[in-house]
């Protein structure tokens, strides 16, 4: 790949907030940010005011499985890092301020708990993460590189660690890790400066190992107030231990069938304990547990059980709560700084956060007082409160009279060559619409707001219910008919459409369940299979549907478990089906015979062998409608894939790296300026759409088109370069690169046209005419439209009114009518997307007018975002200034430059020039 691309995402979230079934919680030390992780792998950042108002700010994408734990990963307050771990062993280090992914790694084992610890080595302080999980050690991981440094190991009956706590002792200057294993053995490790200095991978053995008979331990916490007791929570009882010799001070069992899941000390003599179903109770500890009391340790050795300590408060769980589908997560945090909040915080499966401020005083009537919730908000509520509401990509076409919300988009695919977006909807219809036009309607103000039914679109009706997947096979391989569009639905059918006429060509009804995926077979399959698409259905069946023969040539069904992955062995004519239970079925495509069904290592080996033989056979955009989780697992999201290869970081490093990266050859430039990617966090969600703008590609396309434009002055790439280079004073390397690419692209188009000319010109013309007629879509200039949309979104409206006026009147830019949610792409395809509510959190408390909300661009969101946006707008504006029609008003917006004879002549000339140069 050509290296560093500046790609900016803009998100259209739609009115439905993404599913956010909270699985873990963290409050930052400054109490300004709450972080939640969810079962689908996303992380949400919420801003919190001192008055405990909360507002979601951004969502972080990158994990492919459920988040198991979150922890802070830096000690200082000027750089706030957190680390997240997921069920499949991924670990990610994020910057809380802008959602950038700093580092990521994947281990074979899954963590269930992470604690941050700072080692002092002389004057230097180094951050470490102590991790426990489904393995018998405690791993010590570097907090900046995420490398495993060494491990804390048990000599005596090693087993998984259920929970651990770090005890900082001021008396001995010796910090210890106390942990409880799943079999109920308490383990103690000493972690001191000496340990941190160790360079080798030698394990550290435990200092003490003592059975405390706490099976199924849920959490363990240390009393920071007295520094002399430990609270251990098991599902059926909770116990307090002396932190010195770990003797039992008191034990309380749950009275009914409630299961305790966690607890903390909230004062020297009070604990808060919560249950699986979301209720919490504050208890006053008996005197035998209080070091200040004369009765301290008076019960040690007595096997007294039962006496339930006085209840101070019970904390009401929300009575109006929605139906929850899994137990909520509860945590307690207290501030070490003003205003010393003591917060109980709960996140549930509906994406709701609830906060309770815990008072220090006891109520007068303890048993009858329930503490009321201080503040609560769910993601959906935050979305609902927005005015104007958060836009979805085709909301204006989906609004139904008499209905509240628009019809939801359930599957979509973007066809970059036509600039068109295909959206399958929940009512079974499919909409074809120009992507930039519809995005302009959603994001920007203008005359289009008054037109009904704008932008021009086409509706395909055929499915009886929700459309679940859409595929445009020609986009993945030119062997398919350019006209075919394939869609699958909840009604078990797969329909083939003619995309140009809108005609329904064929209905396949071969599956006995909802169609979940449509895939294109790889290039080197047999000719018969090459004209098929592969359909996967929820009845665990796979079909090969021949578009040419209009029949199903193979149906592989009766898999016992849902299908997770389809792979190919074209050379052997095998279709390999991987199921969710790890079994692998190998089907012969020609005969439809089941060749093998295997499990275990063989299954893994077969799947791996398919990867080795044909890397990236299942191409990028074939599963645009699959949920993000799957897409990320396969790294199939086109744009994300690009990101992964580009390792785009901040701009400064970009420019530096450009020199090194581009010394080599320049491959053919084939990026699209705009890619619209449908995403969903959960399979049940409607699609949200992310517009990925590739700044470099926009510039290259603009310049290419400028050069192709018939012009009195002969514009060849050379003259362009000269003029630009003059302005640039020799030009940077990046500029050179871009011009080289412009030349490349031009040469390509010229070549294509020269080749096409003789045989295909007429046919091409006919097709073009037919296309425009049949679709009756407005002819427009895709590149200029993209640039217009992009510039209008990026411009910092409201800073300079005079400038705004010029932008609107002379340049034809449009003012946004809602805050635009940008995103930030960081390493390895990790992405942070601003939620539509982000502006509210920027200035909470203040009453904002609409212009305030819309204006000022994104400045103030974060440094990284500002840098990217400034750079994009400057480079794009520079390019536009050098063009013949440096505005978005006028005739040239209507049509893309077509190769006329004259233009071709110009192009020929320039290619001759080029050829001479090359010699």
């Amino acid at each position: 790949m050509s290296g560093n691309n500046l790609v900016l995402p803009i998100v259209l979230w739609g009115r439905t907030a993404p599913t956010h079934c909270i699985s873990s919680l963290l409050v930052m030390d400054d109490f300004n940010t709450i972080i939640t992780g969810c079962h689908d792998g996303q992380i949400c950042l919420w801003d919190m005011t001192p008055e405990l108002e909360i507002c979601p700010r951004a969502m972080l994408f990158g994990h492919t499985a459920s988040i198991t734990c979150l922890s802070k990963a830096s000690a200082c307050s000027d750089k706030q890092y957190i680390v997240s771990a997921s069920e499949n062993g991924e670990m990610c280090l994020w910057d809380v301020n802008d959602g950038r992914c700093i580092e990521f790694t994947k281990l074979a084992c899954a963590h269930i708990g992470i604690q941050f610890y700072q080692f002092a080595i002389g004057t230097e302080r180094e951050g470490r993460l102590l991790c426990n999980g489904h393995y018998p050690e405690i791993l010590v991981v570097d907090a900046t590189s995420l490398e495993v440094l060494y491990s804390l190991v048990s000599k005596i009956s090693p087993d998984w660690i259920s929970s651990m706590s770090i005890i900082r002792s001021h008396r001995t200057q010796e910090d210890t890790v106390v942990a409880v294993s799943v079999t109920g053995i308490l383990k103690v490790w000493i972690i001191t400066a000496e340990v941190s200095r160790m360079q080798d991978m030698d394990p550290v053995f435990e200092e003490e190992s003592k059975p405390i008979y706490c099976q199924g331990c849920q959490s363990i916490s240390f009393c920071t107030f007295t520094q002399s007791s430990l609270l251990v929570i098991c599902s059926k009882y909770w116990r307090v231990f002396d932190a010195g010799d770990y003797s039992l001070l008191c034990s309380v069992s749950s009275d009914n069938d409630q299961a305790w899941t966690g607890g903390e000390f909230i004062a020297a003599d009070k604990v808060i304990i919560w249950t699986e179903d979301g209720c919490s109770y504050i208890y006053k500890l008996p005197a035998s547990c209080l070091p200040a009391s004369e009765h301290f340790r008076s019960d040690v050795g007595k096997t007294k059980e039962g006496s339930i300590p006085p209840l101070v408060y019970s904390i009401a769980d929300r009575s109006d709560k929605q139906l929850l589908i899994c137990p909520p997560v509860t945590r307690f945090f207290f501030g070490r700084r003003e205003p010393f909040h003591k917060l109980l915080i709960q996140g549930d499966s509906a994406g709701r956060l609830s906060l309770w401020g815990i008072p220090d005083t006891s109520p007068l009537q303890p048993l009858y007082t329930a503490l009321q919730v201080s503040s609560t908000v769910s993601l959906q509520e935050a979305f609902d409160k927005l005015t104007p509401v958060s836009a979805g990509i085709i909301d204006q076409l989906s609004a139904l009279p008499g209905k509240e919300g628009p019809i939801k988009v359930t599957a979509s695919v973007y066809i970059p060559s036509q600039g068109r977006l295909v959206c399958g909807r929940e009512d079974g219809s499919i909409i074809l619409v120009p992507a930039t036009q519809t995005a302009i309607v959603q994001l920007l103000q203008g005359e289009h707001m008054l037109r009904r039914g704008w932008p021009p679109h086409r509706t395909l009706r055929g499915h009886r219910n929700k459309v679940t997947c859409v595929l445009y096979p020609y986009q993945i391989s030119p062997r398919y008919d350019q006209r075919s569009l394939v869609s699958g639905g909840v009604d078990f059918s797969v329909i083939v459409w003619d995309i140009f006429t809108g005609e329904m060509k064929h209905i396949f009804c071969v599956h006995g369940g909802e169609i979940t995926q449509l895939i294109v077979p790889p290039e080197n399959c047999s000719t018969r299979v090459q004209h098929c698409v592969c359909s996967v259905a929820s009845d665990h069946s796979v079909g090969l549907l021949s578009l040419r023969e209009r029949k199903c040539i193979m149906l592989a069904s009766r898999h016992l478990f849902p299908i997770q992955v389809i792979k190919w062995r074209p050379a052997d004519d095998y279709l390999v089906v991987g199921c969710s239970d790890g079994s692998v079925y190998v089907w012969q495509m020609d005969t439809g015979a089941l060749d093998r069904c295997v499990m275990g290592i063989t299954a893994v080996e077969i799947l791996n062998a398919c990867d080795e033989l044909a890397p990236a056979t299942v191409d990028a955009l074939s599963h645009s409608a699959v949920n993000l989780k799957q897409a990320m697992t396969r790294r199939s999201l086109a744009a994300l894939k690009n990101m992964a290869q580009h390792k785009l970081q901040t701009l400064a490093t970009n420019l530096l790296a450009a020199d090194n990266a581009d010394k080599g050859n320049l491959p053919k430039y084939s990026h699209n300026a705009l890619v619209v990617q449908a995403m969903k966090t959960n399979l049940k969600d409607p699609d949200m759409h992310v517009l990925f703008f590739d700044v470099e590609a926009v510039i290259i396309q603009l310049l290419t088109e400028e050069a192709q434009r018939p012009n009195p002055i002969l514009v060849s790439p050379e003259t362009l370069q000269k003029s630009q280079a003059g302005a640039d004073k020799g030009g940077s390397f990046l500029a050179n690169k871009i011009f080289k690419q412009v030349k490349e692209t031009m040469k390509e188009t010229i070549k294509e046209h020269l080749l096409d000319e003789d045989e295909e010109e007429e046919e091409e013309m006919r097709r073009r005419e037919e296309k425009s007629k049949s679709l009756s879509l407005l002819e427009y200039n895709l590149t200029m439209d993209t640039a217009k949309l992009f510039m209008s979104c990026l411009h910092a409206w409201g800073l300079n009114e005079q400038l705004d006026g010029i932008c609107m009147e002379r340049l034809g830019m449009l003012r946004p009518h809602c805050p635009i949610s940008f995103g930030l792409i960081s390493r390895g395809g990790h992405m942070s997307l601003m939620l539509p509510t982000f502006k509210l959190s920027l200035a909470t408390g203040l009453k904002l007018t609409l212009t305030d909300i819309v204006g000022k661009g994104t400045y103030g969101v974060s440094r990284a975002v500002t840098t990217q946006h400034l750079l994009s707008i400057i480079s794009l504006a520079n390019t536009l200034m050098g063009m013949t029609n440096a505005t978005f008003v006028g005739e040239h917006m209507k049509k893309a430059p077509i190769f006329t004879k004259q233009a071709k002549h110009t192009a020929d000339l320039s290619s001759v020039n080029l050829a001479e140069k090359l010699k």
């Binding site: 069938d257 139906l323 899994c326 064929h506 016992l560 275990g600």
Partner: protein
């Protein structure tokens, strides 16, 4: 549009009209779904618990301090085709407490004999992990007893997903042993377990594959530093082949012989069967929730029934 499409549309239209005529369909569907949530789910959960308790019993969780009271089992590892390696292993719960390995070296016909040092035992992490995963699955199931009222299908699905994740992990731990590189194996600590100490040119590995306890013995030879052979270190694998090379402490080695012997552990076989049964139970329950009428719109129900009728 070809005739096939027309025919099919006619067919389904006919079917749906037949189904539509039964007016009380909707309330029946609701009743069926309520029955599923109230009765069927709990009966499946009960079944699951029974099966998994059986599985968990096979693993015999140690009580702290009483590990030595666990049952000891001896396994004789051998192969019918070759007699170079013979091993007698003693398995106590999740750990190998004794091992006797006889190795006949090909070139010298001399028999080497190793056994575990008295103070050592080798924990089979695979068994411990599988046991812990099963117990976690049981814990999940335990929190939803008969008194619990499931309100939505999504709730059932979420629970099943969590249980299935644990069960799949448990089964995978037994069916897919860890793949290791040869240097990892050489430094794993297993080599230091034996008396007499293992010579530098022999390496052993123990693991579980499906229901079998496996012992692999690698015989190595040192590659001379001036060798003309292409040195290519082998990646990680469960079982390395002769010819695999690696570097350790500046010495280069090549595997010359590989001997693999194994023995079936009957109770591991039982647990694998239990895992498979319970995974299928879970999936079937999910499928039932999925096709259950009230979950979905009326139209699709008709489609489903139509499909069932055709099939």
């Amino acid at each position: 549009m070809n005739s096939f499409v027309l025919l099919e549309q006619l067919d389904s239209a006919l079917l749906s009209s037949i189904l539509h005529s039964s007016g009380s369909q909707l309330s029946d569907d609701e009743e069926e779904f309520n029955w599923l949530l109230k009765e069927e789910v709990h009966s499946v959960l009960k079944q699951l618990q029974d099966v998994l308790k059986e599985a968990s019993r096979r693993f015999s969780t140690p009580t702290p301090g009483l590990e030595s009271q666990q049952k000891q089992e001896n396994f004789i590892l051998g192969s019918s085709t070759m007699d170079q390696v013979k091993g007698v292993l003693t398995l106590q719960g999740e750990a190998l407490t004794q091992a006797d390995i006889n190795l006949k070296v090909a070139k010298s016909s001399q028999v080497l004999h190793f056994q575990f040092r008295e103070d050592k035992l080798w924990k089979l992490q695979q068994i411990q992990d599988a046991r812990n995963h099963v117990n976690q699955a049981l814990q999940l199931l335990g929190s939803h007893d008969e008194s619990y009222h499931f309100k939505t299908g999504a709730e059932v699905n979420k629970l099943m997903d969590a249980v299935m994740l644990q069960l799949t992990r448990a089964r995978n731990r037994l069916t897919t042993p860890a793949s290791m590189t040869l240097p990892e194996l050489a430094t794993s600590g297993l080599m230091k377990m034996f008396t007499p100490p293992m010579p530098g040119d022999v390496m052993v590995n123990f693991y579980i594959n499906l229901s079998k306890l496996c012992l692999t013995v690698y015989q190595l030879h040192v590659l001379p530093s001036n060798t003309t052979k292409n040195f290519k270190p082998a990646g990680s694998s469960v079982l390395h082949n002769p010819g695999a090379m690696f570097e350790l402490n500046n010495n280069r080695f090549e595997v010359s012989h590989v001997h693999k012997v194994e023995c079936v552990v009957p109770w591991l076989n039982d647990t694998l069967v239990f895992f498979t049964i319970s995974l299928q139970l879970c999936q079937q329950l999910k499928d039932k929730v999925y096709v259950c009428p009230s979950r979905r719109s009326h139209k699709v129900t008709q489609r489903l029934k139509a499909a069932a009728l055709i099939g």
